[in-house]
Subunit: 234 residues, 2 copies
DNA sequence: GATTGTGAAAGCGTTCACAGCC
DNA sequence: GGCTGTGAACGCTTTCACAATC
């Protein structure tokens, strides 16, 4: 009851950074580094040291004053907090360009998200192989979710098909959805939806590019947001 | 000097939402809808109406009280603000799984980001076709950037190669980078970097899934953050 | 001496609520 | 009557700065 952090609420902004710290810690571990300070971690993560300390303090008091954090122990704690002590099989809906790339992307399996299946509603795609995964019919979705205990679904369909894909995932019992389609998905309460919109990211960059151009032609207002700059010098 | 918004600074959070509004407005336009209220726009975007009004107020006062916003006019204004009045050719570094999917993804061209080229440092990949784009050698990067006036580069390499790819993009003259590799990139001041990390998104979902499971086994603390819930009922 | 953990302050972003305008 | 535009209030996030600890 004293050592577990069960029930502590971690701010969303912190949750979003923990995976970044984790990746860095794993690198450090592989490099044989036993301890790391908040400052080192901050440099590698591109944030400042106070933020790292505050973030990690939500997990518990795992550092040692004057020394820093023990890499292996911190890895274990971050993993536990993120729920990464076991794999989370995922199912992908949509075997187009993006779905295929995601299914073939080794990073998912490597980071604890093996692809339990990929489905499509196009009979022409069903049955084809992507890496060592065979595309199945969307009708098999519930079966895949049940058999592999899938909680997380990935929507990789074209925009117009995305809501139906999400509905089918929810009906199949999935409770978290990662949406790559460029639409806003509706899901019932209790289903967590996150969105990754590739073109939106480019449009955000476009905004700052355009500002830069406007600034060059006019005043000297800085066009690049402070948070996006990063010194190249060590 | 009175009608252009040159110089107004728009909060980053707003900049990130403008592309979403734009997409919805384009849908409305195609559906032949002439006017839209902040409430309608908010529902479709999955945010609240006050936020929509505040966001749009940063662009100027383009609404009409008692009526709403004229769709076509607002599309024009959002486009102008985001710098989407012209295309932004992009260059992709890395012709692996993800790079290929991105190069073949029609959504980029459609939304104003045609793929001017894709390069790789693997001779086995150079020369192959992805859709109608031929993979070129990374040595041609500067030439592609110059010839197509590319400002935005996309890093789609494996993690270990990403920093070198970014350096080459910067050397070639690119001033904005969208990074898909799971590493923190260093770039000189003046170069804007955004990151999309697919596994990180899954890890964030994993956190809330894990909390849900912990909550089910214990108290009733809600595991899904308020901002991620969305009612399914109309 | 070094570095963490954390209150307090400052800065942002969101939401409220209503005056202003059509 | 309906809807926008916005000051003010609120809450979340970041940063500061320093006491506590090794």
């Amino acid at each position: 009851m004293a050592t577990t952090s069960r029930g502590r609420r971690i701010p969303e902004a912190t949750v979003a950074r923990l995976p970044v710290y984790l990746r860095i810690l794993l690198d450090q571990s592989e490099a044989g580094i036993a301890n790391v300070s908040s400052e080192e971690l901050a440099d590698l993560a591109g944030v400042n040291a106070a933020k790292v300390r505050k973030d990690l303090s939500y997990l518990g008091t795992y550092g040692t004053r004057g020394v820093g954090y023990e890499v292996e122990y911190l890895i274990y704690q971050v993993r536990r907090e993120l729920g990464l002590t076991h794999d989370w099989p995922v199912v992908i809906v949509g075997a187009g360009n993006l779905g295929q790339a995601l299914a073939g992307y080794g990073g998912f399996r490597q980071r604890g998200f093996p692809v339990a299946g990929i489905v499509d509603n196009d009979p022409a795609k069903v049955g084809s192989l992507i890496g060592d995964i065979r595309v199945r019919d969307v009708a098999d979705l519930a079966e895949i979710v049940r058999d592999h205990k899938v909680s997380i679904g990935i929507v990789a369909t074209p925009g117009p098909a995305a809501q139906e894909a999400a509905d089918q995932l929810v009906a199949a019992g999935v409770t978290s959805i990662l949406n790559f389609a460029p639409v806003v998905l509706n899901a019932p309460p209790g289903v967590n939806v996150r969105k990754v919109d590739l073109a939106v990211e480019l449009q955000i960059l476009s905004y700052y590019e355009q500002r830069r151009a406007a600034a060059a032609a006019g005043s000297s207002l800085h066009a690049v947001p402070a948070g996006s700059r990063r010194g190249a010098s060590a």
